[in-house]
Amino acid sequence: MAQEDIRVTVKGQVQKPGTYAAKAGENMLDAVFAHAGGLADSRFSLRAVLVGGARGHFAAADELAAPLTSPAELMVVDSGSCLVNFVRLLFAYNKTVQAGYGGCPACRGALAAGARLLARLCTPLRSAADLTELERQAGVANPACPDQCSGLKPLASALDQWREEFAEHAAGHCRASICAELMLSPCNNACPADVDLPGTIALTQLGRYTDAVALGRHDNPFFLTCGHVCEEPPCQKNCKRLNFDDAIYSQSLHRYAGEKAARAAGGLGKALTHDTIRPGTKSGRKVAVAGAGPAGLAAAHFLARLGHKVVVYDRNPKPGGMMTYGIPAYRLPPATVEAEIAAIAALGVEIRGGCALGRNITLSRLREEYDAVLLALGNGKSRSLGIPGEDLPGVIPALDFLRQVADTGAAEVGRRVLVVGGGNVAVDVARTARRLGAEHVVMMCVEDRFEMPASPGEIQAAEDEGITISVLAVPLAFSGDGRVAGALCTAIKPGPYDVLGRRWPPAPLREAGRDEEYDTVIIAIGQMTEFDGLEDSGLACTKVFIACPDGHATSLPGVFAAGDCAGALNSVVKAVGSGKAAAFAIDRFLTGAGRKLNSPLRSKLGCSEGEYAWAAARRARMPEQDPAVRVGNFAPVELGLDDSRAAAEMLRCICAAKGGRQ
């Protein structure tokens, strides 16, 4: 029996706003992602759905997934919007525009007070008391009100679901980089490591390359590493230049400054030594860091500058974690990582390789010997598919494969390689296999093209190198006699939309199976933390991460956690940010004082320093090695900007960040 369609109006940040007829059983997510074509801007994810216009409410997760029962008007908000600001504007509207809304004295008063408080929260006048007062006003309810106090509904439902975003505002941080008065610049505000990007660009413009690198490394000890590997950096999400064309290509400018500084100083190592980055006055406290990845080493860098004695343990012989063993050399030259790690060691940080937690050292020993312990173990274990034949020789977990290539520079992959997974690691693996001589490399992922977690630039680069991408497909089993020789693959039927617009969980169409021949299969479907050596330590863990309820402190006093093992981060710069925050948390634990590190270079200059010239150019194009040539070598694919391109790129920055004024 055909049921009647439900009319749904979708507007806001979607591809095709309009009114659609939703079939029975469809939910709001179907309306947003299927009918309205998904989000307008692929750089953002779905943040909230306001149901019922300015006097409606923000739908909670279960409401989004529940079948629609009545006609609805949906306003779609993506993650580029600041919810506090969004609610502020709704309140300003509800307060002034009558539009048939009478309300009662109680809710009119609450609307006026709420509008004032929300406006304050978007400016430096904000305080924690504003939030408390706002929550009180949001709770105003008068059963006798002719309009059921509906003008207050957006605020009440937003506070229910995203109180932490309001709390961040009360503390002076806008996560979407929208509330301009709370920040130095959108790029600096969004950078997880809090790098003063306007300052580094200004110093580069002035030709003070060593200073620019020092200012970057003041906040991010892996500044130059990030110059190579920051993919879709957060700093470019709400760049002011997007008003005209593309965001500023800032990571390429970091790299440019680093290369110029190295040339001027006669070596990368020398270019990284600077007066402003020095070990602090000795505090006499000792800190152990387990894990020499970006999070652990960044924490060590800041702890050493705060004057603590730091020893970093790592189970691998070489430090660097994923930067050394995970990211292939064609994306990140090993010399850059080595130089930046050497600069951290030069601060007095001791790095002990080949020392695994649980095997050579235990957490309880570390707790006895040191005043504080930081666990930055990373996600070092590849997930497995759990299908027949996965234990055959020739079926390799992604990280083992990348590690072998990083160690020996070679691996036997044969002619045909199947890579299972659609993330950046899968792309790294596929491109590495291609460079090792595989002629036919297939990346197989359950997602469709637009849902793949890998960044679009990486996918494009992989396709340029002749890698086939097979979407909406999964392997069901691997077969072979003594070594993997083939895979039974099948198409999948995508599941229902989740809040990220991905269709999950997918269902394999078993009857459509086909046999494909492969010499090697590499599984790159994600990583997880290894808890080896932590089982009997009494450390509280969630299912996949070390539990840190607020900040970085764990359930054991004096033990902290940072990086991927404390929550999914998946990028170097986020790991650095996490390690940095943990370092200051440890310092507060050790000294009891909330100390900060200052650099005389920081917040002094904005991009507009000097004569401002308007540049009409679009984003500089990164020169790359020719795809036909680069599949035969591990030399960097991206060649770096030349002088004229870098100069033009720096002039594109229109944003007069408050640099020098704050």
Partner: protein, 310 residues
Amino acid sequence: MKPRQLKIARTASQIVFFLLLAALLVGTFCSVSLGGDYYLSCPLGVLQLTLGAREMLVGAVVSGLLLIGLTLLLGRVFCGWICPFGALTDWLRKPLARCRAARADGPALHPDNKVLKYGVLGGVLLAAGIFRSPAFCTICPVGTTCRTAGLQGVNFGLETATVPLILSLETVNRRFWCKVLCPIGALLAVFARFRLAKIRLPFAACAGCNRCEQACAMGNSPRQGHECLKTDPTVLQALIEYGVPDLLDRPGQYERAPQPLRDLLDAKAGSLSVSGAECTSCYSCVAACPVLNRQADKSGAVDQSAQISA
């Protein structure tokens, strides 16, 4: 006129008036003969004279009203385009900024109290009434700049010290004197708020880059109109109808908005202006605005309506 040309025009005007007032015209700015019985006089000087003499001198009042009339028409163009002391602070901007940077680590001052100058104005008028003479004129940096050197001879009196002394205040903040202390500016500001020619920036297309704010020597917030636009009831109604209430906050969204919405935003933005009592009409904000620069690039010249309209 292209934004950049405005900057050149202003500098040219400052040079011409500096030479005229400080060197060539006999009588200096405080009262310049325009030929015959006509004079152009400093309105504050005239007001002090009137208070000091306790009687209305019709000729003096009329010559003082000339500048006030100009202010009612164009705002405080005197401060931005004519005043020789203001010109001096503009020309010495770079060395003064270096001094400012050098003392940046010193004790923090919060000198941007723009109301203070109205107090100074009151004090000056009170003093003129008490002493029965224009007492302030002897230490007025604008007047002394005019009187110190020129065809009328070189002045070696104590008042020569005024200009460097007041200039040293600039190490606290840009145009500190003009912003915080100048009683002439305060008097003109009273009339400038009713000015007819207003300066408009492209508030609807505003990129929120803050360049105008940084360019403003008077420490104003020229992009305030953008903030007003955001919470305008008609605009909010249209934006909520469209489904993106925070369209004006999001980079690039204005350019993608449908034409009727953009027309509404442009029309609303056209009714807002930057200028008020504290604007010296220097057009630095207009020259710095990347949106206007971009439009100029596209069309060859800035659309006049987007910039200046009477």
